[in-house]
Symmetry: C2
Subunit: 231 residues, 2 copies
Amino acid sequence: MAWVVAKRAAAASSSSAMKSVSAAAAIWMRSYAKVALGTDIVSAAPNVSLQKARTWDEGVSSKFSTTPLNHIFKVENSNFHFAVFLHFQTSNLVLNVIIDLRDKKVVIFGLPGAYTGVCSNKHVPGYKENIDKFKAKGIDSVICVAVNDPYTLNAWAEKLQANNAIEFYGDFDGSFHKSLDLVTDLSSALLGTRSKRWSAYVVDGKVKALNVEEAPSDVKVSGADTILGQI
Amino acid sequence: MAWVVAKRAAAASSSSAMKSVSAAAAIWMRSYAKVALGTDIVSAAPNVSLQKARTWDEGVSSKFSTTPLNHIFKVENSNFHFAVFLHFQTSNLVLNVIIDLRDKKVVIFGLPGAYTGVCSNKHVPGYKENIDKFKAKGIDSVICVAVNDPYTLNAWAEKLQANNAIEFYGDFDGSFHKSLDLVTDLSSALLGTRSKRWSAYVVDGKVKALNVEEAPSDVKVSGADTILGQI
């Protein structure tokens, strides 16, 4: 009689490759906002989605689709790795199916806006230049998010030549940042309600490290170097 | 005894050069919004200013200055033309100062946003290509306005190579368009609250022609060709 064993590898296995977040790793927390260590970023922003940066024509052809947060922060089908073993055990044919349901590891950083100074000259370039280090640490996605429409964000990412290294997502109505209490009024800089400058390390939706700048003009705690030391 | 005569030339003179809006010119009106023929666009949006498109660095060096509507739509000091005549009249030295206070003639068009399709491919290029015709008709400024921040708008104008022909102004918080009831919800296109697509011919702040598209994807009445026929 054939039987099937399905294992959630991340739970069943002690493989360090599958659970690369070391138990000994320090958990960092520098937060001035409500989102906090351990927050499930998907649950904290219910019914919120982001908008993948794209050209207007791509927006039209995609029927202006949006991306739910669980697709960004949690394991999707593409993260399933099947290992199938067929073998005889005494008189039975045994089929072992091991499902490697890996943690999804995301580094996300938010910034006040496309075409502004610190964002263009320092914040994005820092992540772009360190993309190999993030990948070496097993990060699945490095994401930049801003309260911009996805077409503006796409044009800016292209100008910075950063769209191959970093995924850019718009939060055109600010609903994501509002849900996480990460908005700030930048009307004095002619920007209106925008994102604070922040970064987070998120594993399967759970915030493992969070850095929020006190002043949006600063990159003291939210830069690539800081979060690389927190992974 | 010297005396000074200051004349508001636009009122005092019958010069067609000074009053180039022909009395015979048809006044056009195609409006689906509250702003209407004869509306004083400055009074209709009290305490509202726009933000001249510029780079972030220029924004910083300008201390994030904004431009009051009366500077955009009404006669400024730069429009004063002084003609000074000194002559003897009987026994007196007479100083005649004639101030040519011309009407300020502005063509303004609003659109849903930088980096969107129709705006980039059709609406702005139409005005850019016809700029000489506008100037030949005595238009002082051709202005593009959108619910965008001035840095995004500047980058887009540069990309379209339109910033030498057209003046671009941001309405980052939408207050100008809200005051004129020219906003529309474009969340379905991932844009949020934006401007309708519209154009107006404005003389000394007074709306002389207004064209508002029923659908923001259309350029049926708000293009350069239409308003050129209305001046």
